[in-house]
């Protein structure tokens, strides 16, 4: 018997087959290839065009913007650096020493705030041109808030993944009732907020100690996790009005601290959600053996668990950093002069008596979006490795 091995004949296929049939399993036919690449190319243009338009507008002068659309630099208009120069020419203090002074001011003012109950010092006033001010503010608020949020959030996520909590249902009801009473007393009866909240807190601990053991029903970890994640549903506009009043009462309006705290809280649900998924999927044996060797819980978290989730931690941090950098609604309510962030600065360019200087605004927008585009490119590296999207499948 002479058995010839089966061979796929490529040569004698008709033209239609050549065009419409894939050459082998797992490949595409030529026509399908053309269609796919066409669609992808069209979408790439759709995505990149607005960004391209902003970038070239920042190199236009007034005439090139106002006399109708011009598309390609050097071909149909002559690019200038006027818009960029005017960011620095309009204000004094646009040099390196101003930036250094701004960072010193941030440290100095936070110390002043911390010791203010004991010793009242005058905080420093910023002396720096607007674009540097906005950029340093955005940077400091974004980075500090991200670090804070990821630290607090991943601790909570780890705890929810590994420790059993059983908050009593009744205690929660007591807490809600006392919180409502406190707010009503503060708002209508005019009792100072620190008196009513201290009394309420003391009463809560007393009541929880006294009656807590009589409550039967308790909640589990899943309920706490759901409660934290569901905070994301809360529209920020619901929170921001009372928060404005609260910060006004403690004199924190227009400070970095206010924005740092608020950004951190608004992103906590995302951190907890993503990090919980990483921690749950870690093998528990490592932690058990470290436990047997006498490591403390915090030691396990810091030296074993966190290094193991490093890619997830990095990806989460990047995501939160981008969200903080982009935040606008909280900033527009709480930051007026001294802590203007980049989005606020861009929006302020819109309000001119002589009309909007689009070229100047575009220059600021470019400064604002370059960092996020860099972070987006870094983030896609994590996403393509499958980090970050595990939580979505839950």
């Amino acid at each position: 018997m002479n058995q010839t091995p089966f061979k796929f004949e490529k040569t004698n296929r008709s033209l239609m087959d050549l065009l419409f049939e894939p050459p082998s399993v797992g490949k595409m036919s030529p026509v399908a290839k053309v269609v796919v690449y066409t669609f992808l190319a069209i979408w790439s243009v759709f995505v990149l065009f607005p960004i391209y338009w902003v970038v070239i507008t920042s190199f236009k002068d007034a005439a090139a913007v106002n006399q109708g659309p011009f598309y390609i630099p050097f071909v149909d208009f002559q690019p200038t650096l006027d818009a960029w120069r005017s960011q620095f020419n309009s204000d004094p203090y646009c040099d390196l020493s101003s930036i250094a002074r701004q960072f010193y001011l941030l440290a100095y003012n936070s110390v002043v705030f911390l010791i203010s109950p004991v010793l009242s010092l005058d905080p420093m006033e910023p002396q720096i041109c607007k674009i540097y001010l906005a950029f340093t503010n955005s940077l400091v608020i974004g980075v500090v808030s991200t670090v804070f949020c990821v630290a607090v959030g991943s601790m909570a996520a780890y705890a929810l993944a590994r420790i059993q909590y059983k908050p009593k249902f009744g205690n929660i009801l007591v807490f809600v009732g006392l919180a409502l009473l406190t707010i009503v007393a503060t708002a209508y009866a005019g009792i100072p907020w620190w008196v009513s909240s201290t009394v309420a807190l003391a009463m809560f601990f007393f009541l929880a100690r006294a009656f807590g053991r009589h409550f039967r029903r308790s909640l589990g970890n899943g309920d706490i996790l759901f409660w934290i994640i569901s905070q994301r549903i809360l529209p920020p506009i619901v929170v921001v009005i009372p928060v404005y009043v609260m910060f006004q009462a403690v004199g924190l309006l227009d400070t970095h601290l206010a924005l740092i705290i608020l950004y951190a809280v608004s992103n906590l649900p995302i951190v907890v959600w993503l990090m919980h998924d990483f921690f749950v999927n870690l093998p528990i044996e490592l932690e058990e053996s470290a436990q047997l060797d006498g490591a403390t819980r915090f030691g396990i978290f810091w030296e074993i668990v966190l290094p193991l989730t490093r890619p997830g931690l990095a990806a989460t941090t990047l995501l939160i950093l981008v969200l903080n950098w982009n935040e606008y609604l909280f900033a527009v309510f709480l930051a007026t002069v001294k802590v203007q962030t980049m989005p606020i600065m861009v929006a302020a360019k819109n309000a001119g008596e002589k009309g909007v200087f689009w070229w100047e605004m575009c220059a600021v927008i470019v400064v604002m979006i370059i960092p996020v585009i860099v972070m987006a490119i870094l983030l896609t590296r994590f996403i393509s490795r499958g980090v970050l999207l595990g939580a979505v499948k839950g």
Partner: protein, 380 residues
Amino acid sequence: MDNGQPGATPAVSSLNESWGEWFDRHSGTFFIAPAVTLILIFAILPTFYSIVFAVSRVKFTAEGLTVRFVGFRNFSKQLFGTDQVHFLGKTAPVGLVGMAFFVIVTGFVLWWLYRSAKTSTLVGMIGRCISAAMAIFLAWILGASQLSGNSIGTLYTTLFYVLFGCGVQFLIGTGLALLCSQPIRGRSFFRVIFFIPLMVTPLGVGYAMKMVADITKGPFEPVLRFVGLEKWVWSADPWSARFVMMICDSWQWIPFIFICMLAALENVPRDHIEAAEVDGASQTQIFREIVWPQIVPVAVTVLLIRAIEAFKIVDLPNIMTGGGPGSSTESMTLHSVYVWRANDIGTSAAIAYLLLILTVVVCASFFNYVVLGRLRRSRA
């Protein structure tokens, strides 16, 4: 309490333990306390505080804040009173189509409620009643405003942004993910390019889109002139303004759907698809029978997340049209912001609360009947 877990708390605590031991024994509390405290103070407390504002007249005076209780007047002003046209839309002459729509939807919802009454528990039934009431209310408003030829208010503008935006973005995003999951070169390049818009500052997107969509100095001016639409002003007609808003919103949010669906598609085992190809299945059959059932769990979760974020839309309409023409592109958040600017804090909080109720009921209904319902069916 938690035997078998690492770090089970020792049952006996000696009196002369060190601070470190004490700290370690209570580590469970220390791990979770910061997050819970922060959320309680800066999310839960303000939410309660908002209730107080929503039922009050609030004034900023020299010595601080004066709050006077007015009952539900702020809410009734939105639903029945002077702000009704702004919030719900014009509902006065109800047309035949609107009436028919309302009756059909109501009948359908009541039949669904009656059918599920036999099987569900008491709590489930209460939830269903709330969902049904919301559905009937929304059907009445839609029937009385848009379907009777009247204008719609910020409530339905928001819902339009959510429903239409989610739908279109889901279709295009999934389509792009399907294209990108084909065996092509340069996949990671396209992935980076397509992901970027999601990360660009929404405010920057707003201004960029305002420039690009400009009809006299924007890049599409020659195109419009060529088509003969140089007199057409998209921002003058309510629906065209809303659709332009949705195009710009899609530019930003399609990447989110795309990136999640692409990850889901790449998780579908290749050998299943190749086996089906060898067996002679067509591409549609492969998609319907093999790919789709495996990506549906991600799809519903992604839609839920997208819907939650879509309810918060504020930057784009604020920048591109300022809510105009009239108030026809105003979302509920923007409505609330404008009322706040007019120093009417009580009404602003009331609108914010109505948005919260709408978001929670719609998202919880979707979660319960679609996400969990699918889980229950797959287990059964």
